[in-house]
Symmetry: C2
Subunit: 388 residues, 2 copies
Amino acid sequence: MRELGIIGIGQTPVGEQWNKSLRELAGEAVFAALEDAGRESADGIFVGNMLSGTLNSQENLGALISDWIGLRGIEAFKTEAACGSGAAALRMAIWAVGSGEMDSAIAMGVEKMTEKKGSDTTAALATAADADYEVAMGLSFVAINALVMQRYMHEYHWKHADFAPFSINAHANAIHNPYARLQEAIDEKDYTQARMIADPINLLDASPIGDGAAAVVVIPLREAGGTSDQKPPIQIIASASATDRLAVHSRRDPLWLEASYRSARKAYSQAGIAPSEVDLFELHDAFSIMSALSLEATGFAERGQAPRLGLDGEISFQGHIPIATRGGLKARGHPVGATGIYQIVELVQQLRGQAGPTQVKDARIGMAQNIGGSGATIFTHILRKYPS
Amino acid sequence: MRELGIIGIGQTPVGEQWNKSLRELAGEAVFAALEDAGRESADGIFVGNMLSGTLNSQENLGALISDWIGLRGIEAFKTEAACGSGAAALRMAIWAVGSGEMDSAIAMGVEKMTEKKGSDTTAALATAADADYEVAMGLSFVAINALVMQRYMHEYHWKHADFAPFSINAHANAIHNPYARLQEAIDEKDYTQARMIADPINLLDASPIGDGAAAVVVIPLREAGGTSDQKPPIQIIASASATDRLAVHSRRDPLWLEASYRSARKAYSQAGIAPSEVDLFELHDAFSIMSALSLEATGFAERGQAPRLGLDGEISFQGHIPIATRGGLKARGHPVGATGIYQIVELVQQLRGQAGPTQVKDARIGMAQNIGGSGATIFTHILRKYPS
């Protein structure tokens, strides 16, 4: 495969965007990415999306979006891997351009989640879990994560408040991200006193849903050289994914994200780096427990010890392993099928030095991990500032 | 990209399979394909599916299926391009193996459509069209195709009975396909007297929905050499896709499938062949009007003249351009997200000489075209018996 670079990024604010349709949101992100790349078109568009069929009565998003943005005729279709759909779309763009079949591709994610009533959205999100063996037993998606968090706290002797730094850090960083849904600080008291959703997960353990879209432009690295100093091309040095058993109860160990471990290990090997060389990690903090499990499976913390990183201040943008530097899922918001591309957009901002007050100093290598289902389908991407 | 071959095929019967879940259907097709290939696993699975979120309350099919069939951990996710989802999954497998990232991949399609009541399925199928500008006006998916057929008949002076050969041919061929849903012959009287659905489309112009799954195993061609004479490897000599405006009323000419033309032209160029070298064409006969439009856009008939091919007997398995040789969507059935892979399975059967009484004599090159929406997203694949 050819070496690849990202030369353009675009995103919409995450929130309740009742005045914009699905296609308008998508278009806004794609136009921004193309403008950022200094281009007018691309050879293909790959759309990450999970819920447009159920929540927007619209499938065939490839044609919908390529038509809307005026790139009629180009190849375009949708990929779905639950909340990992965005990263799956990036995999497509990487293969399409990496294989030489396309000279440029847009990987994007879009989700419009606030059109229907909450119970419909909750039911739609549950399609990420096992319909026959989890959801049919009455479990919602948050309930599955609550069982995992409960078990983790029991097994490793953490109390709920020990997870507070994950949410506090995300909110602190989101204040400086104009695209974030929750641009407000929280403290430990807010966290511990938040309304309970599914014990022990409370409102401030959970990421908010939202409407939003994000897009990146992928081209061969050797053609990305001419970009300005303000926008160095960002090289994609690893792209890998793996699956696990869909239902959490089927796994040998419900507290170990095997697919995170496998995809990260593959990614480190492709990139030729060790975890210690990663300058920031945009992880999938849909729930605070998922931050902990991801940090462990990717090698940043020992089994059962990830909350320690938060308590020691290591996850801030000035810490050893910065996470959620633009707010993460927790505070930027989690428009599910778009999240994986938001993560990539944010990594590019950091590696370009465009992350403002939460800029990670001398950021050179960034990693993103996007998760579909409760650890079932996991994508790991590693980007590097080029020339590094 | 590396040259690729298909070494295994599998399928389930199409029908109302109330005793099998979505994952069981998928597993049945994948196990059959792996057994046919003489293999036990693959490096990845790409799943074409359109409606599992709305009709089966299940997304994340990559993890669902890889888990169920025991290939836990491998990369797997879903692609969606409405009724073209199956071919989109094949595109994924082609890129994954062609780029060298995987050494083998399963492309499959699965759809379970008969669980809910008919009106739910009709609403779900309408998500292939433009929700805001077609469906919101009261158009169902069949109604859109009915308007196109009406216009075609008016413009080119055909009467409804002139389309009869498309359906009669499909049914005649399906009698010999044990996987087909409608294994019964029809005659012109049956066709003209069938119950009206949306004038001029009657019951025998429309393909039946169904539950079903199909799968193929893709590997590098050079590793496919060892297979027996009974199963020559089948080379993928072209794979291309294109989009058109989503809403039919937005197109310059509603009677011209621009995306069919573009993807076919690209495919002929990749394969280095002319349409006249195609020995059979598995086209997307979701409605008889779509057979006509596909034959014209791919170069087998002049504009407005495709019904002539049927009336002259050229579309039978003994004709100049055999179509629907195993029953097509019309009589094999149309489990939407799986259809694109059924077409590939049937092409492989023909090129291997395994097509029984409807075997196309000396079939060497076969083409398949899979359509998502009313012509919005179109995939063309060309296969060749190897060594040819």
